[in-house]
Symmetry: C2
Subunit: 323 residues, 2 copies
């Protein structure tokens, strides 16, 4: 029951010898979701031992090269497998030109459908719902149309409290209905003072008989963006949050001019969102050491970490045990 983020790239516009452009794999149980696809993503995926066939959904935050230049290579490589199932790419409208060019120049061997799901919204909007996860897109504030993504593990089917089954004579049918989240109305009766059988409708409220077996987990991807107040509301209480951290506070005005964030601003957003953990990434190539960046963030939000190529951050599965 894995829920984890594997980082493949933490560079900003300029990759370095060790930092790749943006790309991440979110694993929700056995399903993999690729988020952004900078140059070299396919090699990073190979290094991580990830099978491309497990990826059915790719999320592109915006169309800058450091988030997209790995797509051509990845799509070409996938075309050399036997894939026939669709690959869904969630990206802004402008991605159409990108995909059209790819198909016209390099699409000859592409035997699987590539479906561009247009992302366009000014408020958080659901763009995908599977058995495992729902994904919302929300607008970020960058130089070009850019979206963040909130991944929420699906709400679990509720369990029925075992100690309430026998005393309440719950039938298998009723248990099944309760597990679907439905209240039960059933025929009941009692004998009144005069010895008459009184029939009535008895209502069993689902909430009184059930509990969630685990806490659904969540991840918010927020890059590239400048700090803005509303963002924290859209991702409130998120378990893990990845945020643009291009600069240290020394370059706050440059961050603003380039529509990026400092690590302290990322931390401020995490604090306001009541996030559980913050992951910093999208580092400017000017930083060889990221110590200052991390420290400045931790002063604002202590549970902050640096993303790193090949490093996985897991959100543990939290089971709720009731008796």
């Amino acid at each position: 029951m894995e829920f984890s983020l594997l980082t493949l790239g933490t560079a900003s516009a300029l990759p370095t010898a060790n930092r790749y452009p943006s790309a991440h794999i979110l694993t929700v149980r056995e399903r993999l979701f690729l988020i952004d696809c900078g140059e070299g993503t396919q090699m990073q995926l190979r290094r991580a031992g990830i099978s491309f066939s497990k990826i059915d959904h790719i999320f592109i935050s915006h169309l800058h090269g450091d988030h997209t230049y790995g797509l051509f290579g990845l799509l070409s490589t996938i075309s050399m497998s036997n894939r026939t199932t669709p690959l869904y790419i969630y990206a802004p409208e402008g991605f159409k030109a990108f995909l059209d060019f790819f198909m016209s120049q390099f699409g000859e061997g592409v035997k699987y459908p590539i479906v561009h799901v247009v992302v366009k919204c000014s408020q958080p909007t659901e763009i995908l719902r599977t058995k495992q996860v729902t994904v919302e897109a929300f607008p970020l504030v960058h130089r070009t149309e850019t979206y963040g993504f909130l991944f929420k593990e699906a709400e679990p089917q509720v369990n029925v409290h075992k100690h309430l089954i026998e005393p309440n004579n719950l039938s298998l049918y009723e248990i099944a209905r309760l597990k679907e989240g439905l209240d039960i109305v059933r025929d009941a009766s009692f004998v009144d003072e005069d010895g008459n059988i009184v029939e009535y409708k008895e209502t069993l409220l689902c909430k009184d008989f059930t509990y969630k077996p685990y806490v659904p987990r969540s991840f918010a991807y927020c890059t590239d963006t400048m700090y803005f107040k509303r963002l924290s509301k859209w991702i409130e209480n998120v378990d893990l949050m990845y945020h643009d951290s291009t600069y240290t506070t020394e370059f706050e005005s440059l961050a603003k001019a380039n529509f990026h964030s400092t690590s302290a601003q990322a931390a401020m957003c995490a604090k306001e969102a009541n996030a559980k953990k913050l992951l910093l990434g999208h580092f400017s190539s000017r930083y060889k050491s990221l110590d200052v960046m991390l420290n400045e963030a931790r002063e604002v939000f202590s549970n902050t970490f640096l993303a790193k190529e090949g490093t996985k951050f897991e959100i543990p599965f939290e089971k709720i045990n009731i008796r």
Copy 2:
């Protein structure tokens, strides 16, 4: 006086965790020439500590993705430097669409001219001549229009034999002319038997008075191609030859079907060309070990080596010492 080939990528269509797609740096003295530009080239260049500003000429053999997908990233990164000098890209006609798309989608910040020099020929044809080097393109036999490149170090300015200067009364002017490769015709005279001064024109042939101070070196880049007889004539006596070696002999028919070569065919070409050294590359991802491939080639042409990411093959500077 370096003349060397640094390999950045040896993969064929499918990169692996350790093999990058095709890209190489030929260094001729202080000038760098990038040959092919597969995905990840800019990161490989950074790892090799190579300054992008030293690259003025990029040679693209053909437009398959494993030879071109790194261009967008490299061109974008260069645009973030202060480059204003032109960057020349030698590539087949179809590259125009590639460049047009790049400029329309990602060209906003590109302040330097990118000049597409169209390569189109059916015979070896000079496409570049600088002080250091001349470059010829020649057609290869592949699934799409593909060219090889022959880099020849410029012929050196000749030196005048020192021991001939005084006996022949060579003036500084005459020495300068000889060094430019010109013969000298000068007024001379002698006294005949009757005591008369006879004037005549004396010719000093450049070839009798000069020698080449060093042997110019050469490199031939031959990927992707199936084996064909004429190729060896076009690159005769080359010092270093890089050749398509996608398969072992076991897969010779597959090599033919895919318009690629086996290592033994590469070796045959090197032998027929009387090359001094052969470098194999463009390896199929099916091979974890390349031992069989190397051995099969060495049976045909013993001075064969495997190209490897980050490995440099130097051709030594051979000085000609005359007294």
